[in-house]
Every structure is written in C-alpha cells, then in structure tokens.
Subunit: 181 residues, 3 copies
C-alpha cells in the first residue's frame, strides 16, 4: 500500500512537471517588418487570437519599431545619424507602405481606400483595438538604440514594455503559436 | 482504498486534459508571400512533412492568394479597382517571380531552367503534388475581398476551403509547427 | 489491488507517451533570407536562446545559403550558370545587405557603423559566437545544388551538417519555438 502511494506521488510530480512545460494558450508574434501589409497581417492574427480566448504578445523589432512612433511627440537632442534614421523611417503606422506594388505610394493609397470601402480597419485602428483587447507589446531596446529612437517618442499604449530577446524567448517558449512576421 | 481510486480518477482526468492540449502531429503554414522562392519553400516543407507522416494545412493570404488563381478561368462583372489588382498580380503560380534577383524576369527564368535541370518540381507541379498528398488549403476571404478575386477564378483543388483568421488559428493552435512564410 | 496496479501501469505508459511527444527545450530557425537585418535577427535569437539554456538549430536555405560561403576558399570546375549565381550572390556574411534602405550600399554601411558604435556584434562575429555556443547549423542541399555551391567553399563551422527538409522537420517537430526568417 505504501509503495502504491509513493508511485502515485511520483506520477503526480511527473504530471506537474509536464504541466509546467506545456505551451500555454498564448500567441507570440515577432513584428520585424515595417510594411503595411505584414503589420496588418500581424494585427489581424493578434486580435483574432484574443477573440478566440488566447493571450497575445507582440514583439516589435527592427523595421517594426518605427510603426510605434507617435507623430505628435517631438524629441530633441538626437545626433546626426539618429536624425537621419528618424527622417527616413515611417513616423507611426499611418506612414507604413506596402511591401509590393507601392508604386510611389499609389498602390498603398489604393489598398487603404479599398480597406475603408470593405470595412477593414486601418493599421492605426488595429493598434487601438489591440490595446483595448489587452494585447501586450514588447519594443526591442536594441533596435531603438540602433535607430536612435527614444522612449518619449513612442505611442501611448497600456501594456507596453521595453525589452530584449530574452523577454521574447520566455514568452515564446510558453506559447502555442510563434510567428516571425 | 476509496481515496486511492479517487486520486486515480483525478490523475486520469489530468492526463486527458494534457492530451487535449497537446499539439498534434500537424504543420500549419501561412503563405503570405507571392514570391516564387518563398512559395517553393512553403511547398517543399508541406510535401516533405506529409512524406514524414504529418498532416499539413496551408493558409494562403494577401500576396499568396493570387498564386491560386486559374489562368483558364475568366470572370466578369468586376469593378475598376478589382480589374486593376487582377491585372497587376500574377494569375496563378506560373507567373510568380523571385523575391530577389528577378532582373526584369531574367533571374526568374534562370532559376526555373535550373530547377528543371536539377529535377526540382515547378511550383505548379508542387501544387498538384500537394493536392495528391492531401495537403489542405485555406484561402483567406478577407484577402480575396480586398483584391477583388472571386471564387470562380481560383484553381480546382480537392481540399480547398475559404475562411478567415479564426480557421487558421484553430489549426495552428493544434499544430507542432507553425510558420509565417 | 491487481487491477489498481494495472491502471497504474497504463497511467505511466500514457505519461511516457506524452513525454515523448513533448516539445523539447529547443529552437529551430529557418534562415531563408540572405538580408543583413534578418540574418542578424536570426543570430540574436539563436545566441539569446542558448544563453537561456535552450538548444538551437539553424537551417540555412535559399538566399540564406550564400551567407555561409567563405571568401578565402576558391573552387573551380563550375558551369556558367553556377559561376553567374556565385558572382551575383554575397560571398559570406560580410557582403550581406539590408533588406530596406540599402541605398546603393550607403544604408548598409550606416547600419554597420552604428552597430559598431553601439557595441552590437557584426554578422560575422555572431556566426563565430554561435559556433562557440554550440548552435548547430544545417545547410540545405537542394539550395546548394540549385545555386551551384560546393561544400568546399562553405565556412568552417564545428556543428555543420548538409541536409534536406526532412532533417529540419525532425528538429522542428521537437522544438518549442520554430521561426521562418
């Protein structure tokens, strides 16, 4: 009898161990691209997943980072290189362009007018929706550092954290779905 | 004794719960790109996975959608915007181009002739193979709507479904491997 | 009593089965892109994951393959097509370019000088670091064959294997995180 109980204990421990290693009901997205089309795909997946009862974390890195800049916020004291990057990259989601068929902006304009006509939210709208739905956002500190972005110029967003790859990997390792977009 | 049996019941329930949450032996691929090279990579993975006994679902969205149009099928009654998109995007896999080194089509031609020489199937061939192997295909309805594609102009394919992000997420959450291509 | 023991046996078997199907503490990355920025992202994730105690496998395919060529190694006996591909693609990580804002090489130069200033390792440095940390590398044989690369022109790297999609899928199916970069 005692032995049986011991075995039971051991079985429970194994189940607990398994449980801890089980991927949660979570989705982790790396938003590496700053293109309008890819960012839209990321937010369609993110908001769709929340609607299905999943938890979502988005990790904005490299070209994805400038999508989260706030056009209304001005920062001073940047060096020349940072100013150049700042000027060349989109200031916020509204300036994002299609990865294909941009055609000097005409393709992007066409897509945006189509989205409005077909009742698909704009990228800015999707960011607001994501915030309301509780989607958490990580912003890659290394990318911000390289591109010379300051925290003061990023959008207000409730569940926003600045972090590195370790933060992402921890979330991703406990997620059911991970995508590099 | 009775208590032991109760514990056993509870252990079994936990194992069942774990089992239900376990990722299946399935691969979910999002084919966002319409580039020849990326679409090829998607189908190499898809058909390879089936060969290894895995189940495969491919979700075609955005630029990936026009790859599944059938050149032989004509549809009428499109508005101007839809006609423009229809004309600018590839009509089927045969018109897909390399993402790099396309060089006005010369690079793509070179790659295709190399593939033939090295006995690598064409993209069209891979789609047929995938159908034979039972790879399931989802086509994103939002993308079709935005680009003005109609169901009547898509290729015949046995395991073809039209759907949205919820359909993909359901498959992906029960998959071992998920990739955004 | 005997029945209880039998049930126990069955429970244990189920746990073992579950254990075998559990994703390991492993990360599998497909490096499809040959762009400096995306390759950097791949290595930041790879080395970060090892630092967190995870095992990492990188699968280099298509445009990612030429990043692993060694500029110092010369091979002869290539046909015209292979020579052309060889000349047009980067010879090693040092020649990789940004996917955006390359601006005839100026953007890439700016990014590299920024990386040095901010103490971010170069791509070549990251490859060495990955080797030291025990990151395993798979090189796609089909890509090498298509682009006419020979094994003799690839970099020395301790944990390097040549293989196909089956090798990747086996690793990926046992990984917690899989990304297509």
């Amino acid at each position: 009898m005692e032995e049986l109980e011991k075995q039971m204990e051991s079985l429970k421990a194994q189940i607990d161990a398994t449980g801890n290693r089980m991927p949660d009901n979570k989705v982790s997205l790396i938003v590496f691209s700053g293109d309008l089309d890819k960012a839209l795909a990321a937010f369609v997946i993110a908001t769709g997943a929340v609607a299905m009862g999943m938890e979502v974390v988005m990790f904005f890195t490299f070209w994805g980072t400038p999508l989260l800049r706030d056009k209304k916020k001005k920062v001073s004291g940047k060096d020349t290189m940072s100013k150049m990057f700042g000027a060349m990259l989109p200031t916020g989601a509204k300036e994002a362009k299609l990865s294909k068929m941009n055609m000097g902006g005409m393709g992007t304009m066409m897509m945006k007018s189509l989205m409005e006509k077909k009742n698909v939210s704009s990228l800015e709208g999707f960011i607001e929706l994501a915030e309301e739905l509780g989607v958490r956002i990580f912003i890659c500190e290394m990318s911000m550092d390289l591109m010379g972005f300051k925290r003061e110029e990023m959008i207000d967003y409730e569940h926003k954290t600045y972090g590195g790859v370790a933060g992402f990997l921890e979330e991703a390792a406990n997620s059911k779905i991970q995508l590099f977009i």
